[in-house]
């Protein structure tokens, strides 16, 4: 069994690395077209954010919400459910965590952080509950609903942050800054931005890995993903599992939003989750990480390095930092296709070819 597993890894790694290579190749052509040196651009992009200590710690810091959103999407993909509302859930979680952090001022900072996190998580869960119930009881396609509700949520938050919850003194649309007791302080290693939130996200990753691989719930979810009718026939309560799963996914997204608020942004602005949005980045990470915890960790770090590197690229070259989003789209595009069949190892494949040649 172990031997067969090791055979599988070869094509898996190729299938993961090849899309990245292809995307960088096409990205390189685009950079060439605007008259810049692609190699130099890539070196600036990845060199600082991966190969210096401070840069790497910053990369880890920015990877923390990505870890959670990647996880949120990966677990739903596993059950063949598409929770595309991670972005909306993250925004809602972040927004209300921010409001809580700004209005509540407890002397105990641990309790305050905990409350903010819980508020964020609850918001994420509640928002995910709508498509979950529609899917489980009314057979409404959850993908379409979540995709549309994202836009609705962005509009609602736009209203809330520019209307009732707007910080009166500020020149642009934002909510009040959260109290210091609700902020994750920088740990100050190498002067980097790393906070406790990264370790929290990492802990959540480990817990979820345990849940997904070692508990009954995790196994049932995998079974539902493979064949929902069979799962139902064997007596699993598919509807309830779908709701639970969507709630977990929404909760993770909510925590990601709350953490992003408390460790990085400190107030809700209209560009809270960046240009592609942390929720959408999560999709890349889930796909790149092949729905596997170690994969998700590596993918989150890799993508976060790209994103932090994008700021450097903007500073030192004339390449717009939007190139990173182009790369992201291309990577996802190529990831959707399996270049090599993963059900056969490389060795078996070569053997097969050899046999065929001998027959011929």
């Amino acid at each position: 069994m172990t031997k067969r597993k090791s055979n599988y890894i070869g094509p898996k790694i190729i299938n993961t690395l090849l899309p990245i290579g292809l995307a960088f190749f096409i990205g390189g052509i685009i950079i060439l077209c605007i008259g810049e040196n692609p190699l130099e651009a890539y070196q600036i992009m990845l060199g600082k954010s991966l190969f210096t200590v401070k840069g790497f710690l910053n990369t880890l810091h920015y990877a923390s919400p990505l870890l959670l959103t990647g996880l949120a999407i990966a677990i739903t993909f596993k059950a063949n459910i598409f929770n595309m509302g991670v972005e909306g859930q993250l925004l809602l979680g972040g927004f209300f965590a921010g409001i809580t952090g700004a209005s509540l001022n407890l002397s105990n900072s641990v309790a305050e952080k905990l409350i903010c996190m819980l508020v964020g998580m609850t918001c994420g869960v509640l928002f995910a509950l709508i498509p979950a119930i529609l899917r489980a009881y009314f057979h409404v396609d959850e993908m379409v609903v979540t995709l549309m509700l994202n836009y609705a949520m962005i509009k609602v938050l736009e209203y809330l942050s520019s209307g009732p919850f707007r910080e009166a003194g500020s020149g642009y649309v934002c909510t009040p800054v959260i109290h210091e007791s609700a902020m994750f302080q920088r740990l100050g290693i190498e002067n980097s931005r790393l906070t406790m939130f990264f370790f929290l996200a990492f802990a959540v990753l480990i817990v979820m890995t345990f849940v997904m691989t070692k508990t009954k719930l995790g196994m049932e979810i995998t079974a539902i993903g493979k064949n929902p009718d069979f799962a139902e026939a064997t007596g699993m309560r598919v509807r309830r599992k779908i709701i639970i799963l969507m709630c977990i996914s929404g909760g993770l997204a909510g925590i990601a939003g709350a953490g992003h608020m408390m460790s990085e942004k400190f107030k809700y602005t209209l560009g809270f989750s960046g240009t592609t949005g942390l929720g959408w980045d999560g999709m890349l990470i889930a796909l790149l990480g092949r729905h596997n915890p170690i994969g998700i960790l590596l993918a989150a770090i890799f993508y976060s390095a790209l994103k932090t590197g994008a700021d450097n690229i903007n500073m030192y070259t004339s390449v717009p930092k939007e190139i990173v989003e182009v790369l992201q789209g291309l990577i996802i595009l190529f990831l959707a296709v399996q270049f090599l069949d993963e059900h056969f190892g490389l060795k078996e494949r070569i053997m097969k070819l050899k046999n065929r040649e001998e027959v011929a």
């Binding site: 685009i30 057979h139 396609d141 379409v144 609903v145 209203y159 209307g163 139902e232 989003e325 789209g329």
Partner: protein
């Protein structure tokens, strides 16, 4: 009376991009390739049409290049999804993200937040219908739309004909319903999938042109604002039937027109009215699904 006329005019006005996307998505839906990339293709149509018109000063060139580029994107989608058998949902989302990113990239290179055409304005594209214009109310509603608006309503009939009265339509439906039996008939299933997707790309490019070039002569990034996804919801509601899907598209147009017209009176809470179309569509989708499954007694999904 003017108020109602205004709402109904806006209803047609806002329904058009969705309607075109719906018409584009129907064949792909029937061929069992869910085309999530409608949104991205529409954005590409909007972007390319305005960009090319801006650079060359020729509107016709803008139209043609938008259609061409959308067809290329359709080909890419079809190649990855049909030939390489990738996950179409993931490919569709990837295309949506790539188009937004490329548009953002180009806008950044041009150093501006939007592209605005200065040699023409939206009024140039409006056509007054000769006789209908003079009829009160109806004239106000039906006259003064753009070329693509009229084309889109004619296209509903064309698509219906294509789907139910031609060989092509039957074959596409067979491919979607049962690929094996289609193959046993000797059909080249991939060919029909490609054609269905390309037809979708064509209509999406029209939707994009209508949205950006014809209506406002301006392009801002992400101006499609989820219309492609709403079109998919409409397709789900109508289960791929051109006429009923079109009606859902117009329902969305009405929701949008209401949200725009009512928000004029709402003052500070105007932004909340933008939510109406998305909520209406979700509710409609729920009701349709409830009706569809009401008589099913089988346990399970």
């Amino acid at each position: 009376m003017d108020f109602i006329g205004g709402i109904l005019y806006d209803c047609l006005y806002h329904a058009v991009p969705i309607l075109l996307c719906v018409l584009g998505g129907i064949f792909a839906y029937k061929a069992n390739v869910l085309n999530i990339a409608l949104e991205g293709m529409m954005l590409a149509g909007a972007f390319v049409s305005v960009l090319v018109s801006f650079q060359t000063g020729s509107i016709v060139l803008g139209y043609l290049s938008a259609i061409l580029i959308c067809m290329v994107i359709g080909l890419i989608f079809a190649f990855f999804g049909v030939t390489c058998k990738g996950n179409v949902i993931v490919i569709g989302l990837a295309i949506n993200m790539s188009i937004t990113a490329i548009a953002g990239f180009v806008l950044q290179l041009m150093n501006s937040a939007n592209i605005k055409l200065d040699f023409t304005n939206a009024a140039d594209f409006k056509i007054d219908l000769p006789f209908i214009k003079n009829i009160p109310l109806i004239g106000d509603i039906l006259s003064g739309h753009t070329v693509i608006t009229y084309i889109s309503f004619l296209a509903v009939i064309v698509i219906w004909f294509l789907m139910y009265r031609t060989k092509f339509g039957v074959y596409v439906r067979v491919v979607g319903e049962n690929e094996d039996s289609a193959k046993s008939l000797g059909l080249n299933t991939n060919k029909y999938r490609y054609l269905a997707i390309l037809l979708g790309a064509f209509f999406c490019s029209l939707a994009g042109i209508n949205l950006a070039l014809e209506r406002m002569t301006i392009f801002t990034n992400n101006m499609t604002a989820g219309r492609g996804f709403i079109a998919i919801a409409a397709i789900y509601c109508g289960r791929g039937d051109p006429l009923s899907c079109s009606i859902y598209a117009i329902v969305f147009g009405l929701a949008r027109a209401l949200s725009v017209n009512l928000s004029l009176y709402a003052g500070a809470a105007a932004a909340v009215f933008d939510v109406i179309p998305y909520v209406v569509m979700s509710v409609v989708l729920t009701v349709v699904s409830m009706v569809k499954y009401r008589n099913r007694k089988v346990r399970g999904i």
